[in-house]
Amino acid sequence: MDEHEILEVIGKPYPKKDARIKVTGECRFGEDIQVSGMLHGKLLRSPHAHARILSIETGKAEKLKGVRAIITGKDFPGILYGNFINTRDYLPLAIDRVRYIGEEVAAVAAVDEDTAWEALDLIDVQYEPLPGVFDPEEAMREGAPLLYDNKPRNISSQSVWEFGDLEKGLKESYLIKEDHFQTQSIKHGMLETHICIGYWDANDKITLESSKQSPYAVWRQLAMGLSIPPHKVRVKQTFVGAGNSGGKQEAMPMDFAAVMLSKKTGRPVKIVHTMEEVLIIGHMRHAFEIDLKIGVDREGLIQAVDFYAIADGGAHSSIGQLSIFLLGNPMMVTYKIPNVRYRGYRIYTNKSFCGALRGHCGPQAVFAFEGLLNEIADELGLDHFEIRKRNAVTPGFVSLNDMKITSCSFKEAMDKARDVSGWDKKKGKLPKYRGIGMGASGMVTGSNIMGLSNCSALLKVQEDGTVALQSGATDVGQGCDTVLPMIVAEILGIEPDDVSFALVDSDLTPMDPGTWSSRVTFYAGNAVKAAALDARGQLAQVAADILKANEKELIFKKKMVYPKGRPDQGIELDRLVRHCQNRKGMTILGRGYYNAPADTLDFSTGKGNFAPTYSFWAQVCEVDVDPETGQVDILNIWSAHDGGRELNPMLVRGQILGSSVMHLGQTLFEGIIRDDKGKTLNASFLDYKMPTFMDIPKCQEIYSMDVPDPEGPFGAKEAGEGAGNPSIAAIANAIADAVGYRFKSLPITPEKIAMAVRKKEQREAL
């Protein structure tokens, strides 16, 4: 093998760079930041799901000892901000109307948190309650109360597209199955709640320190909502104590309140959400009502799909226009579908709003599709893997909505999952109440939805041969703080520990879209690779002159630079850097950027190859079900993936394990519970059931197809978020296999299972 091609770093299981400071408690999260003179802010929230604000009286609260400032929506310019121009519906604080219980109407800054809480009780808000609407189907009916006067039928956004000839496809189908599926609203349980510290200085420069996973989105939204130019805003990212979206993507009322309270007081203001606040406000995962119809021929080949969905979007739009498109997309990058109609409607209701959470609508769609596909397979007498392999996308396939499949080892991943799980020995042969099920799915690697979808990187090679790397990418626990330095280390022949990774600072680090859509390793990785190659090129030019060698033939390895095949005739990297600095006045600065070869997504038609590549997942789950209690014991989850080359197998494994646990929670017990007036009833982790160590599968096995993607940095593509796409389906299908009954509504609680078992036994006894 050519010396250039021997990988020293890539593919090795380097521990996450921040693991040590996190496990020892040394990591400085936003909550740990204390600034001299800092005040503490709290937010007053609406007790009404829908009401007009008649007046806000703050006089009593202002007189409370220790209160320094109180603001309301009228302290802001009253400009709507949001994600898309056509769905801007956020205000920093509500002005004349509230649309869900928990919506922010005022904020207090005080010398301590207790005083701020006490002051909130002294603010007198007069409301005129308005009729609310809590069910999306009711909200769509003519005459239903409107959340926004310019949004008829409460449609926040829609995605409607049709390709091929649906009627013809259904007519020519040998078997048509249809069913209704329901998924619930959940909240990812990031242990660090939202937090920010706002500063508004005398030069009108605003600084927000916050645990954001897309700091530049916050940067723009703050500027928009405050009606100031973006250069007046500086967003500094703190360590993020888990992201998974759920509100760390966008500017939140707390961010606006912190900076405005700082303006009023001349002091920094810190606001930290309680977990109760996190569980009653956005961003939630969308709850869906899905009507799905699939037609197949005698061989099980899909002839037509009709997918209709209503999403409960809550009171604001967030990124809803993309969300409602994405629900329909997984099937298009998983199976070859010749005729398809998709109609998705995202509906406003008087509930906390929904946005992008891990998988962004994929897991819910796959749960429905895979469940119905199994029913079809059973009726045709086909094995569950077999029907999927017959329909699976393959390399070179172009879907009807223009998704272009390039590298694709989907069928190989299915074969692997089948083999390692012992499927053939178990399916239909397990003891009563033990079941095995599978799920499969494709997943985008970094959607290009226009605007800033590309990534950039800057790096400085320092005189001791180490590198200071800056990209705009944010580590939210997924591991880019380690993988991006590994890419630099591979190219410059150093160790990952020799490369530092900077937190994002909008005044300093390169522009970046943020951490979403499984993009960071691919996009930022390619940008970082380009920056490292740029730096290596500069160093090689100087080294070639010193070493009397061809610069293209130089090898960078083990902190040495030497002509190919002559390691004893090289120069140490640190000496070379010092030579560049001291003799030539060259500071070695590498710069790189990357934009993916992808199209624009056309929301009006549903068309556009909006990702540079796609990953593929097959999962098998084996469960034991207690027929008396309905308790599900997950014995094993086998995941086989085509996520390209694993740049760091340890981190990929961490992603997949975490994703499985997250989605087993949604499958089995998680869910926001509200009363009929929109009040959240389980706003604490005592009542909102999250998976604990007791719920984690007994075993999880992970297999990579390890086929490099030609476009990805060192062959990588998405390898984490997609793991969750088939998880709900695989667990639900295993439960169906165990108890002989398919659950079409999430979560599949022990109560539901026990009831179903009892009814089945009663039927069988007759």
Binding site: G82, N83, F84, I85, N86, R88, N150, S214, Y216, A217, R220, Q221, S245, Q249, E250, S318, I319, Q321, L322, S323, G355, A356, L357, H360, S447, I449, M450, G451, S453, P513, G514, W516, S517, R519, T600, L601, D602, F603, S604, G608
Partner: protein, 89 residues
């Protein structure tokens, strides 16, 4: 005259990718008309294009046309309006 219109979102009344406009219509006129149809303005009170959209005239971003929004259109000119999300998910 007819102007080709392409957008990555639904604009009501855009018939098969084109609209009828008056002779001598400017790019600004067409964008105002399209904004009215879509029910959200693309041009702000300061006569600047909202940063939430990108506008191309015949494949070139509008700002690179010397007369910008005052550019007079000709038959079959192509106007593209692309909405840009601020963040993804």
């Amino acid at each position: 005259m007819r102007i080709d219109v392409k957008a990555n979102f639904m604009i009501p009344g855009v018939d098969r990718g084109s609209v009828e406009v008056e002779e001598n219509a400017t790019l600004g006129d067409v964008l105002t008309d399209l904004g009215n149809r879509a029910k959200f303005p693309f041009i702000g009170p300061d006569r600047k294009i909202d940063p939430g959209v990108e506008v191309l005239l015949n494949g070139l971003e509008y700002a690179f046309h010397s007369k910008r929004l005052e550019t007079h259109l000709e038959e079959n000119d192509k106007v593209e309006v692309i909405i840009l999300p601020m963040a993804g998910g």
